[in-house]
């Protein structure tokens, strides 16, 4: 059995990175919004789903016209990121801002709103797809340029071009975000709002604008992740965002919520763990416990972290204020 495990290991690690980068990008959206608003934005998993659906549609309609698969993907990424980012802004503007303006102190109110928004977005996409194509189980069209495959390390890893593209794009986005948050004026403003909203507003920062931008950035990252997810895993429905969203949130908590490098690290770690258990659980238990339990593993990790190290891997302990 050990031989079997070792033989699979390189492939497992590779696939774990593919999954991990998707989680990392989605986790960033959770962590940034949590940073500025202290809100778990449940609707973010639907922003991710919208990116995936846009990716499918772009491939469906433009694949016959655009010969180059990479150009096609670039278009899908741009459009997916833009539409997802825009949706995130709209959600903030019409669902969360009215609550903020009223100044409710009850923490449940924004949380319940977020769940409601998430449900609305799921069915809105289903409605649009229903009216458009009369179906909502979508399949990503395959494009030859991106489907090519190579064997690495003497056949230990079987990898497709699109997996490399996924990792490459993710790394670029993550580097770009790090630069944006640490080196630009907008980044300083976001960090200031996250640290203390009312003081930041005294320093000439318009919190509403910064919050809106934060949703835009997090939303477009989620949308890009969605397009890449659709490319990699191909089957997309309006309800496809729920589980990856929940896991990306787990990743954000794992890294330390509100912490940007933490979300990236958390995503990668969670991707590895999930893929590891998903592959090895059936082998280790002689098929008695199948791959389905990988989701259970993710939640157990979430609970364990929250109990043992609630501040996450890279987070700092915050005292609860009276």
């Amino acid at each position: 059995m050990l031989e079997q495990i070792l033989a699979l290991l390189p492939q497992v690690i590779f696939d774990g990175f593919v999954l991990g980068f998707v989680y990392a990008m989605v986790a960033l959206g959770y962590t940034m919004v949590y940073g500025v608003l202290e809100l778990i934005n449940f609707a973010h998993s639907e922003i991710f789903m919208i990116g995936a659906v846009v990716g499918v549609e772009v491939f469906r309609y433009l694949a016959p016209h655009v010969g180059n698969g990479f150009l096609l993907l670039l278009l899908a990424l741009l459009l997916g990121g833009a539409i997802a980012g825009l949706t995130a802004i709209l959600v903030e503007r019409f669902a969360y801002r009215p609550l903020r303006k009223r100044g409710t102190t009850n923490r449940l109110v924004p949380l319940i709103t977020a769940i409601g928004v998430s449900f609305i977005l799921q069915d809105l996409v289903r409605l649009i797809e229903g009216l458009w194509h009369n179906e909502f189980f979508l399949r990503m069209r395959t494009v030859e340029d991106l489907e090519g495959s190579v064997s690495l390390f003497g056949g230990a890893i079987f990898a497709q071009t699109k997996s490399f593209v996924l990792m490459g794009v993710s790394i670029l986005m993550l580097l770009g975000l790090t630069y944006l948050v640490n080196r630009t004026k907008l980044g300083v403003a976001i960090r200031a709002v996250a640290q203390d909203l009312s003081t930041a507003s005294l320093m000439g920062i318009d919190p509403d604008r910064i919050i809106s931008r934060t949703f835009l950035i997090g939303g477009s990252l989620g949308g890009v992740a969605g397009v890449l997810f659709a490319l990699q895993y191909t089957t997309i429905t309006p309800y496809v965002g729920f589980l990856p969203g929940l896991k990306a949130f787990t990743a954000a908590v794992l890294g330390g919520i509100g912490n940007i490098p933490g979300a990236m690290l958390g995503g990668l770690v969670l991707g590895q763990l999930e893929n590891f258990f998903g592959t090895y659980l059936p082998i280790l238990t002689n098929g008695n416990f199948g791959t389905e339990y990988k989701d259970v593993v993710a939640f157990l990790i979430l609970i364990l972290i929250l109990l043992l190290r609630p501040q996450g891997l890279l987070g700092q302990v915050v005292k609860e204020k009276v």
């Binding site: 202290e38 809100l39 778990i40 669902a95 009215p98 609550l99 009223r102 100044g103 409710t104 102190t105 009850n106 923490r107 449940l108 109110v109 924004p110 949380l111 319940i112 709103t113 769940i115 409601g116 928004v117 998430s118 449900f119 609305i120 977005l121 799921q122 069915d123 809105l124 289903r126 409605l127 797809e129 229903g130 009216l131 009369n134 179906e135 909502f136 729920f242 589980l243 929940l246 949130f249 787990t250 908590v253 008695n288 416990f289 199948g290 389905e292 339990y293 989701d295 259970v296 993710a298 939640f299 979430l302 609970i303 929250l306 109990l307 609630p310 609860e320 009276v322």
Partner: protein, 442 residues
């Protein structure tokens, strides 16, 4: 004003006799609105409500149109909320609606029974979740998990299923359902304890996400525990599940002069059983709300740190709320399994949890009549209004694609209800006093 309202009620009574149907019932709803919202003397209002009760009952019996049921629910709400109606009138009219009108309507249209039972099951669960979310302020997004545990507790032992892993004479006979309700209270409260012990140490928003995850875990377990040992029979679900024997009930009803046939006997039985359960649950709820625990829960909801400094032990108090809510859900799970004679993981999804949450939010967090109203409104919306609308779209608007079937869009409707309520009326339709003050304080 008074003459107008009385005239409307009488006109509806006439319509219900002569031309029963959807239009007449719509008119009746208008008359009910007039009776509830116009400025009337208490006596006249009471008279109006009594007339309307009679009229809706007649309308339901003669046409079976379920809009009439909405009217009866509306009267119940009016009876619980309107000021200066004598208590004995409230009680008499309320009991008449629940024990006479609805069964009569059920004999005319068995769908009314089905609706009544579903409303009852959901109302009892909404009341349970109300303890957790409304009183203690703990957002539980995996509440359907407890419902599942309760339902499977009876489903496994009340069917052939238990033979797969233990020796014995299964299915257990139907009488065992009554002790199993108690067992389900124990198993679900224990599940609540197991989930709550880690989850309730966390701050509010983490609790929400952990319960969300655990709700999923229970569903995954129900789906996959058909191997290596077959506990749950996986996605196919378990059927047939034993129902309690009701010979004594048939005889009792026959002695009272009520003739029951093969379908209505169990429906009436389960309807009355569910009513009884709601009565019990309300009683427990009211008593808890005014008890030491109830006050401690509210204190924790309002300000955890302040509550702790007043000497309230946080974890045990929260655990108690969590387990109480779980136990309510577990009992209803047993009834649900027996009434359907079938359970499958499909019934216990996130959507189910959010539906129950939506009921509590719509009615008003912490409010007992609110939770019942919320359950009635969302169940009727889901099982009746959306389905009717679907039927209408299918027959009258064939150019709309078949995938756009309004009955499939409950998520959209529930999502809209949650968001709109949170933005415009976070205290709910029938607010609880303390909660209202809190939501308005800002």
């Amino acid at each position: 004003m008074s003459a107008l309202s009385l005239l409307l009620s009488l006109a509806y009574l006439g319509l219900a006799f002569l031309a029963p149907g959807a239009l007449a019932n719509l008119f009746g709803l208008g008359a009910l609105a007039a009776a509830a919202f116009l400025r009337l003397s208490p006596n006249l209002r009471t008279l109006n409500l009594a007339l309307l009760t009679l009229a809706f009952t007649v309308g339901l019996v003669r046409s079976g149109n379920t809009l009439g049921l909405i009217g009866l629910v509306g009267i119940l709400v009016a009876l619980t909320t309107l000021p200066r109606v004598p208590t004995w009138i409230r009680a008499a009219l309320g009991l008449a609606i629940l024990l006479i009108s609805v069964p009569l309507a059920g004999f005319a249209n068995t769908f009314v029974f089905e609706l009544g039972i579903q409303i009852g099951i959901y109302a009892a669960m909404a009341l349970g979740l109300n303890v957790v979310v409304g009183m203690a302020g703990l957002l539980d997004l995996g509440y359907a998990a407890f419902f599942a545990v309760g339902a499977y507790t009876w489903a496994i032992f009340g069917s052939q299923q238990a033979k797969n892993f233990m020796a014995g004479n299964f299915p257990l006979p139907g009488e065992y359902i009554y002790p199993f309700m108690l067992i389900a209270i124990a198993t679900t409260a224990l599940t609540g304890l197991l989930i709550g012990l880690p989850a309730l140490r966390l701050r509010g928003d983490y609790l929400a996400i952990v319960t969300l995850g655990l709700g999923e875990v229970v569903r995954i377990l129900a789906n996959n525990l058909d191997h290596p040992i077959n506990f749950t029979n996986g996605p196919q679900g378990i059927t047939p599940i034993q129902r309690p024997p009701i010979d004594w009930f048939r005889e009792l009803m026959a002695a009272m002069g009520v003739r029951l046939d093969q379908t209505t006997d169990y429906q009436l039985f389960f309807y009355l059983l569910v009513l009884l359960m709601i009565g019990l649950v309300v009683l427990v709820n009211v008593n808890l709300a005014n008890s030491r625990f109830g006050r401690a829960w509210v204190a924790i909801r309002e300000d955890e740190i302040a509550a702790r400094s007043m000497g309230i032990p946080l974890l045990p108090t929260k655990l108690l709320a969590f387990m109480t809510g779980a136990a309510f859900s577990g009992v209803m799970g047993v009834i649900f399994a027996a009434q359907r004679t079938f359970v499958s993981p499909e019934s216990f999804t996130l959507l189910a949890s959010i539906t129950i949450l939506g009921m509590v939010i719509l009615g008003g967090m912490g409010s007992i009549p609110g939770a019942i109203l919320g359950a009635a409104a969302l169940t009727i919306l889901n099982l009746d209004v959306l389905k009717t609308f679907s039927e209408f779209v299918r027959t009258s608007l064939p150019q709309i694609p078949s995938q756009v079937d309004p009955a499939k869009y409950e998520r959209l409707v529930f999502g809209l209800i949650l968001v709109l309520m949170m933005i415009f009326r976070p205290e709910g339709l029938i607010p609880e006093k303390r909660h209202k003050a809190e939501m308005e304080e800002a």
